[in-house]
């Protein structure tokens, strides 16, 4: 149905010549933007409703009863539905640790929460399809769980700043009773807020993607970033680190590059690095942990991301 709208705008409204490069790019742009904005509205709304049942206090109380392994698994899963902004990373981190949640379990949450977020999910489904989106989610969960378990085993509590445990004790609970009306209000507000924040990046990303789609020859990048280039995965991971805030613009761009020969595993590594490893978040985390722990955390997650990239480059030939 969306294709009909896109065709109508391209060929009737703008009366562009069918089969020309320009018309192809315009058609692609309209179709993809429409599809993504629609998907974003539906999925963010649905996730917000689920989220209204799982405020961070509730997640904390669920996780504080869990031990290793099951705790890591649950933390990663619950990380999916939690909204994440790097400005909340520190209070969440402190709140979890002081409630007695193990360090490794807290890290599993901290990795999964930004990596598997609804915006990335929508863009993946819209531009790459369900199969790739599912691969991303499953491997993202695996990375979050494994890095959390590894950090837990390393017993690095001494790398936290001293004040972290200085003030231990149950944090006061506060209840927030919500009616269904409140939940719908909340979900609507949140959906609008996210859309406002990302629409420009998405249009930009899809726009550049559409240009690439129309003008760059197929397989142009295969020689540089195809599955057989060994350095493509680590390079993609490194480039992804400083691009955090632009995930919404980066994914459409990357999807166009994939068409031109960038291997799928490399693409997945890049997107995971964009969402999970963020420079501003590292700076903020310095208030609660020593630099050594941040490097360790980034290193373990980075290795996981690269491993995933190489693995999918081998499997998804």
């Amino acid at each position: 149905m969306l294709a009909v709208v896109a065709d109508w705008v391209t060929y009737s409204l703008l009366s562009l010549t069918p089969h020309s490069l320009f018309a192809g790019a315009v058609n692609f742009f309209i179709y993809d933007s429409l599809k993504i904005v629609l998907l974003l509205m539906i999925i963010i709304f649905a996730i917000s409703i689920v989220r209204s049942f799982l405020p961070p206090e509730k997640i904390r109380s669920i996780l504080s009863h869990e031990k290793q392994y099951t705790g890591n698994l649950l933390a990663a899963l619950l990380g999916i539905v939690t909204p994440f902004c790097s400005c909340s990373a520190v209070p969440l981190f402190l709140g979890f640790l002081r409630a007695g949640i193990p360090l490794g379990v807290t890290f599993s949450f901290l990795v999964a929460s930004p990596m598997i977020n609804e915006v990335a999910l929508v863009l993946l489904v819209g531009l790459f399809g369900w199969r790739i989106a599912l691969l991303y989610v499953v491997s993202g969960l695996a990375i979050a769980i494994v890095s959390g378990i590894v950090i837990g085993k390393l017993r690095v509590e001494n790398l936290l700043k001293d004040f972290v445990f200085a003030n231990k004790g149950a944090a006061p609970e506060f209840s927030r009773d919500m009616s269904w009306n409140d939940r719908i209000q909340y979900a609507r507000g949140y959906t609008l807020e996210i859309l406002k924040k990302v629409w420009l990046y998405i249009l930009f990303g899809v726009g550049v993607g559409a240009w690439i789609h129309g003008y760059v020859p197929a397989n142009f990048l295969a020689a540089y970033a195809g599955g057989s280039t060994w350095y493509a995965v680590p390079l993609a991971t490194l480039i992804g680190i400083p691009l955090y805030s632009n995930a919404a613009g980066v994914i459409p761009l990357v999807s166009a590059l994939t068409e031109k020969g960038v291997a799928m595993g490399t693409t997945l590594s890049f997107m995971m690095a964009v969402t999970a490893l963020s420079l501003p978040e590292f700076m903020i985390l310095k208030t609660v942990m020593k630099t050594k722990l941040i490097v360790l955390f980034a290193g373990i997650v980075g290795l996981g991301i690269m491993f995933t990239g190489y693995m999918f480059n081998l499997i998804l030939k």
Partner: protein
Amino acid sequence: MKLEVLGTGCAKCKKLVELTRQAATEMGIPDEILKVEKIDDIVNYGVMITPALVINGTVVAAGRLPEKEEIKTWIRKNIQ
């Protein structure tokens, strides 16, 4: 009445301070709004996602930007 806004300086936190100030002024309440920016203090209130609004020591909203009317309702409850 003690009005506190908890937040580490994000854009939404500033917005909440502004909204709370407006609500208080419109209701003729002269109280100053205390900005709590120290992480330790924020976490001690049990808040993990900022911004949050605390009235007379009780967290009334956390992790979202409430409407001005909502803030007024909370203030009203605390007057009685």
